[in-house]
Structures are given as structure tokens and as C-alpha cells.
Amino acid sequence: MYDIVGKRNLWFAVSAILTIPGLLFILIGGLKPSIDFTGGTEWEVRYAEAPTSAEMTDALSELGYDDVVVTSLPDDFLRIRTEPIDLIPPETDAPAPSASAAATDGASAEPSASAEPSASAEPSASAEPSASAEPSASAEPSESVEPTPAPIADGTEFADLEDDLAAQFGEGEPRLVRTVGPIIGADLIRSSAVLIIIGEIFLLGYLWMRFGFRFGTAAIVALLHDVILVVGTFAILGFFFNVEFDALFVTALLTIIAFSVHDTIVVFDRIRENRIRHAGETFGAIVNHSILQTMSRSIITSVTVAVTLGALVVLGPPTIRTFGLALLLGVVSGTYSSIFNAAQILVAWQDWDAKRKARPART
């Protein structure tokens, strides 16, 4: 019988090698947040003259947009990302008054308010002299103020920008426009962190309840391994290839958490069962049995999930490829960590515990 448990220090070393580079890249800021988090405007467009991303960057710079990222996409499309532009501004702020008189159309009948003393009276029953002709707006040039321009009239900032670019590169054909204001971005960071942390606390509670303190803790350590591996990989990809993480990535992380625990539970459930059936054997041997017995199931489930996710990554729409990739990594890592981390931690813990108890007996 193959001895997996005996080589546990090797597995811990492998996990360290897998996670530490990612951790380093997380710390040096390799993670590239998308506009979901930072706020910004991002759009995909192609122009008749098919400018390159460098040409587009220059053109935007000339128009006063310096902080831009332009990426080339298939079929001559460009993805352009800037600061948030074109959000309709808050309306409550009063503009500075100007000293021109408001032109009132004297010819049109001025409105008048009429009163109906009794609450039950029909509106039509009112008999007020309705030839209203009191021009209440008299010519008073002194203090009147020009009305605010409508927030969105013909030329929004974005529309102007589109026109300017079309003048240079020919007719534009936008297919996706997205603006995220800074408020939403900041809120997303907060709510994502809360979702992930509290989600894990729930799971820890459930695992403690069903499997006891030690198993629960080991499962959470394995889970952290998976999360760090996936986030770390995206930090590396972000550092070298500008791969961004977005709101969907947070969802992917939460799914990975669920899958990782799901996988660990299958192994732990078998350990729990074997402890009763093979009560005489050492804990290490029981864990080894259990791993080997569940191994084929773990691998096959990983394969079926990987196959569906692989199809999604290869054939699915580009916007969810990174999402699929994150899930794929997480699933493989989840299977690995259940066998080679979670179960091994249990054995290591047991060993350490036994030694600690043995020591006072000797002295």
C-alpha cells in the first residue's frame, strides 16, 4: 500500500513552493483590480481605420486623457479604459448665477391657482373667473438667473470623446460601455471582504459542529491554501500579463471555498468512518487508508468538473474566461489540498499531541 502519510513533509514543502511565490506577488501589488473595484470607464470599440493600441493611446493623450490603458482585441476591437467619465453629476448643486434676464414669453397665458374651499367639491364646479392674465413674471433684469443646463443634453463628455476619435479614425462601432463610479468600487471591496471572511466563519462553525475542532481547523487551513494559490496566481498573471480580477473573481473565490470544503469533507467523512471500523490501527494508517479509498473519487470528480470548466474557458465568451480559469485552478487545488494538506495536518497534529503528552510522563 502506498504510503502517502509518511511523506507528509514533502507535501507540505510542495504546497509551500506552490503558494509562496503567489503570496510574494500579492504583497508587491501584483493584483490588478478591474474598474469594478477602482471605478472607471471601460469600453470596447472598433474604428473604420483600425488604429493600433499605441495610436489610440496617443490620440487619447492629445485629447487630455493621460491615464488610459488600451488593449487590442480580436477583430480590430480595442478595449479602452480611463478614469470614470460621463457620469451624470449630482443635481443638487446650484450653479453660479449669471446676470442675464430670463426671457418669458408674454404672449402665453399665465397659469393661475384656484381655490376650492370644500373638500368634496368637484373640480369642474369651481366658478372662478378664469381669464387669467396676470403676468407675474415682470421685467426685472436685476436678479434673475439663467436655468441650469440639462445634465445630459446633446454633448456629453463621452459623446464628445467618441466624436473626436471618430474624426481621427473613421466611424466608430462601440459594443460595450461600462462606467463604475468610485462609490460602487469602494463598496465592492468592502462587501467582498465581508462575504469571504464571514462565509469562511460559517463553514468553520459547521465543520466544528459536524467533525470537531481539529478536523474543522485542518479543513480551513486547506481552504486558505486554495484561496492563496488562486489569488497568488492572479497576482502573478496580473504582474506579468495585466490580467485583472473583477467582481466575478470574488464569486469564483467563494465557489472555490465551497468546493474545497466539499472535497475535504469527503475525505474526512471516510476517516471518521474508518476510525470506528479499524479501531486498532494507528491514526496515520487510518488516514492513509481513507485517502487511498477516496483518491479515485477525488480525481474523477476533479476531472468531470475540470472538463466542464475547461470547455467554458476554451469555448466560452471572453468575459468569463478569467472566471473559468480561477475556478479551474481552485478545483484542482481543492482536490490536492484535501488529500495532501487537510488530511496530513490531522496526522501531524495527532503526532505532535502524542509527543506533548508523552513528555511529562517521561520526566
Binding site: 457620469l87 451624470i88 443635481e91 443638487t92 450653479p95 448665477p97 430670463a102 397665458a109 397659469p111 393661475s112 391657482a113 384656484s114 381655490a115 376650492e116 374651499p117 373638500a119 367639491a121 373640480p123 372662478e128 378664469s130 381669464a131 407675474s136 413674471a137 436678479e143 438667473v145 436655468p147 441650469t148 445630459i152 459623446a159 460595450l176 463610479g181 460602487i184 463598496d187 465592492l188 465581508v194 462575504l195 462565509g199 460559517f202 463553514l203 459547521y206 465543520l207 470574488v250 464569486t251 467563494l254 465557489t255 466539499h262 469527503v266 468512518e273 477516496t294 479515485s296 473519487r297 474523477i300 468531470t304 468538473v305 472538463v307 466542464t308 469555448l315 465568451p317 472566471f323 475556478l327
Partner: protein, 444 residues
């Protein structure tokens, strides 16, 4: 024992109902077949990213120190929905959201192509209506009184929230005069009464978003009852003016101020492309899993393949039945769930193989496989449900859609992978060929 007998019938009925719900009526020329039963309509709802369209996110800001109430947000939502519907947009979706920091948002989604600037300016405008006491100032139409209000040179008597929306009606007065009539709530009535009593013959201007929209002259004290604002004689120009005034008084007054916090437009063609790609990916993934299960587990694999088809059918039927909005993330969750749905089967079959290897005969091995695997299936699925439930409870809209698909997926997969597979296997093992061990791919 009884459940054993009933299960095949339950499965059959569910499958037939699911097929009935899923039938693509238009493609098959079955328009005569009802797609509505007991008032529940079956339809596939696509999200903005798959259907194309415009989404505007508005953040609510309280007026003054008062915190924003649920009721205010709901009222604003209703008003915006009517405004958008009013310009002839088909099936606008307006919903409220609470951000992680407790901020309130209103999200407007308009599917398909539309004049985005028109929609955005329409939903974004707060339309805060104020009845103004000019305090002796002469105010003209279209005049911005923001600075005057700040300097307290004019005074707000009450705001549009005091208008009873149900009472606003177009009014045809005597002598060919047209106007709009409305009633006020109690607090507004009192303020209006004391103001109009003191100002008969003088103007009582109304402002929308700090701009005077009309300056009617007060004819008499209005203490309770109906106020009528007369626009003028019944000419086409005045009729337009009356309609505008009516809309402003009826829908114009949002109880909260809204700031645009984000927007998104997706080209419908691009959305359709995405949907096509996602469906192909899903179909390929499903096929690969089916193929793998049959190749690896043989007869039980074929049975689980049937269970997986049942799963796919039922999931899609549930989506259509309760109107789950399918976004890209939701489709991704669905595809992921296909891979995970067979996990329970794999657990059971692996267990079954072990039991056969240990020397048991086929029948008891199958039963033991199901019984022993159950505790892992239950515990692992409860853990998934816990996470998905938490996501659904606390997540933003996109996350919620994903979580809902995951929850439905886990629940249905427990039924399909356990009950459906077990029932089918029992049928199969009654035949003599169904008991041939080589069909179970067990190496002794």
C-alpha cells in the same frame, strides 16, 4: 418500501412537467400550446450581459439629516419605473439594492436598444418638487432659485411629497380653461392654507429641482380640498403644458435625491454572441461528462448519464418557472454544476465498486454504495448550500444570480444523483443482462 414504489412515478411526472415547461414553443411551431399555467408564465429571462441593453445604477442621497427609509426608496423606484415605461421602453427592470456600506441604490435595466442618453437623463433626474414662498421676490419661469433658497431670500413651503399622487388629475375648468387638480396631505394642507390665505392675488411659484416651472397666481385661500392650477385655454400648446405639469405633479417628486453611480451598455449582438458561446461551452461540457461517465463506469455510468440529463432538464424548467434571470455568471454556475452534479454519483459508484471487490454480490453492493456514500453527500452538499445561501443573502445582484443557480443546482443534483440513479439502477438490475458484472467495470 412505499417510497420505492412511488419514486418512479414521481420522477416520471417531474420529467414530463419539465419537458412541458421547456418545450421551445416558437421553434417547434407549438404556439398554440399554453406557456402559462395557473397564472405562472414560463419564460427564459436573460440578463443584460446576454440580452444587451442599458443599465444605470443610481445612488440615493438623503435630503438633509434624515436617514433614507425603505419606503422612500420604494417610492422612488416606482416613480422611475413609470417614467421609463412612459417613454415606451419595453420591459424595463427597476430594482433596489443595498450596498455593503448600507447605501441605497436603484438599478434600472432596459433591455435591447434604446436612446441611452434619454433614459439616463430621465431616470437620473430627481424631480424634487417645491412649493415656494417668494417672500416678496419676483420669480420668473425657468429661473434658478438655488442661490435664493440658500440665502433664504425665498422659502420652501412644503415639497412634492405632500401631494397625494392619486389625487392628481387633468382638470377641465369652466369656459374652456384647462389645468391640473390635486389634493394635499395634512401637513401640506396646513402650510398651504396659511400661505394662500396671506397671499391672495400674489404668485405661488412651484419649482422642480430648484428651477421655477410655473408661477400661478393665487385666487383665494385654499384650506383643505382640491387645488387647481389653470394653464390656460384649450389650445394644443397649453395641452402639452398641462400634460407636463400633470406628469411633474404626479410622478415628478422623488422623495430622495439620486446620483448616477455607474452605467453599462451592452450591444445586443455581442450579448447574443456571448449566449451562443456559453451554450456551446455548456453543451460540450455536458457531452464530455456524459461520455466520461459511460466510458468509465459502463452501465451505472449510463444510468447516471440519464440522471444528468434529467438534472439539466429540471434545472432549466425551474429557471423558466420562477423566472431566474440568467446572466453570464449564472450560466457559468450552471455549467459548473453539471460537473459537480455527478460528484454524488461518483461517490456512490466508487463505494459500490469497493463493496463488490470486497466480495459482496451486486444487489447488496449497490444498496451499500448508496447508503454509505450518503453521509459524505449530505455533509458536503450542506457545506456548499451554506456558502451559496450566504452569497444569496448578502451578495450584490450579480453574485445573487450566481448563488441562486448554485443553490437550485445543489438541491436538484441531490435528487437526481441519488433518487433518480437509484431508481433506474433498481430497474436495470431486475433484468438478467443488467446483473452482468463486466458491465460494472470492476477489477477483482
Amino acid at each position: 418500501m412505499t417510497w420505492r414504489r412511488i419514486a418512479p412515478w414521481v420522477i416520471g411526472v417531474i420529467a414530463i412537467v419539465a419537458i412541458f415547461i421547456n418545450l421551445p414553443r416558437q421553434t417547434l411551431g407549438l404556439e398554440w400550446l399554453s406557456d402559462e399555467v395557473l397564472g405562472v408564465e414560463f419564460r427564459t429571462v436573460l440578463g443584460l450581459d446576454l440580452e444587451g441593453g442599458l443599465r444605470v445604477t443610481l445612488e440615493a442621497e438623503a435630503q438633509g439629516d434624515e436617514p433614507i427609509t425603505d419606503e422612500q426608496v420604494a417610492t422612488a423606484r416606482d416613480i422611475i419605473e413609470r417614467r421609463v415605461a412612459g417613454i415606451g421602453v419595453s420591459e424595463p427592470q427597476v430594482r433596489t439594492e443595498t450596498g455593503g456600506d448600507g447605501s441605497r441604490r436603484i438599478v434600472v435595466e432596459v433591455p435591447g436598444v434604446s436612446d441611452e442618453d434619454q433614459v439616463r437623463s430621465l431616470v437620473g433626474s430627481t424631480g424634487r418638487l417645491q412649493f415656494i414662498d417668494p417672500l416678496g421676490q419676483q420669480l420668473a419661469d425657468d429661473q434658478n432659485i438655488g442661490t435664493l433658497l440658500e440665502a433664504e431670500a425665498v422659502r420652501e413651503i412644503f415639497d412634492g411629497g405632500q401631494i397625494d399622487p392619486a389625487s392628481v388629475a387633468p382638470d377641465v375648468g369652466t369656459g374652456n380653461q384647462i389645468g391640473v387638480s390635486f389634493n394635499l396631505r395634512d401637513a401640506g394642507n396646513q402650510a398651504w392654507c396659511s400661505f394662500t390665505s396671506a397671499n391672495v392675488g400674489r404668485p405661488g411659484p412651484i419649482a422642480l429641482d430648484g428651477i421655477i416651472i410655473t408661477t400661478p397666481t393665487i385666487r383665494a385661500a385654499i384650506c383643505g380640498g382640491t387645488t387647481i392650477i389653470t394653464v390656460g385655454t384649450n389650445t394644443p400648446a397649453n395641452e402639452v403644458e398641462r400634460t407636463n405639469l400633470y406628469n411633474t405633479l404626479r410622478f415628478g417628486a422623488l422623495p430622495i435625491s439620486l446620483t448616477e453611480a455607474g452605467f453599462e451598455t451592452v450591444d445586443p449582438t455581442l450579448g447574443a454572441n456571448f449566449l451562443g458561446q456559453a451554450l456551446i461551452a455548456g453543451a460540450v461540457g455536458l457531452f464530455l461528462v456524459l461520455f466520461f461517465m459511460v466510458a468509465y463506469y459502463r452501465l451505472p455510468g449510463a444510468v447516471s448519464a440519464f440522471a444528468l440529463l434529467f438534472y439539466t432538464l429540471v434545472i432549466y424548467a425551474i429557471f423558466r418557472l420562477i423566472g431566474v434571470t440568467l446572466t453570464l455568471a449564472g450560466v457559468a454556475a450552471f455549467i459548473l454544476s453539471i460537473g459537480m452534479a455527478v460528484d454524488a454519483n461518483i461517490l456512490i459508484f466508487e463505494r459500490m465498486k469497493e463493496e463488490i471487490r470486497s466480495g459482496k454480490t451486486l444487489g447488496p453492493s449497490i444498496e451499500a454504495g448508496f447508503n454509505r456514500a450518503w453521509s459524505s453527500i449530505l455533509d458536503s452538499n450542506v457545506a456548499s448550500l451554506l456558502v451559496a445561501g450566504w452569497l444569496y443573502w448578502q451578495g450584490t445582484t450579480v453574485v445573487k444570480g450566481f448563488a441562486l443557480v448554485l443553490i437550485i443546482g445543489v438541491l436538484v443534483s441531490m435528487f437526481s444523483a441519488v433518487t433518480v440513479t437509484r431508481t433506474l439502477l433498481r430497474f436495470v438490475t431486475r433484468t438478467s443482462w443488467g446483473r452482468r458484472l463486466e458491465l460494472y467495470h470492476v477489477e477483482r
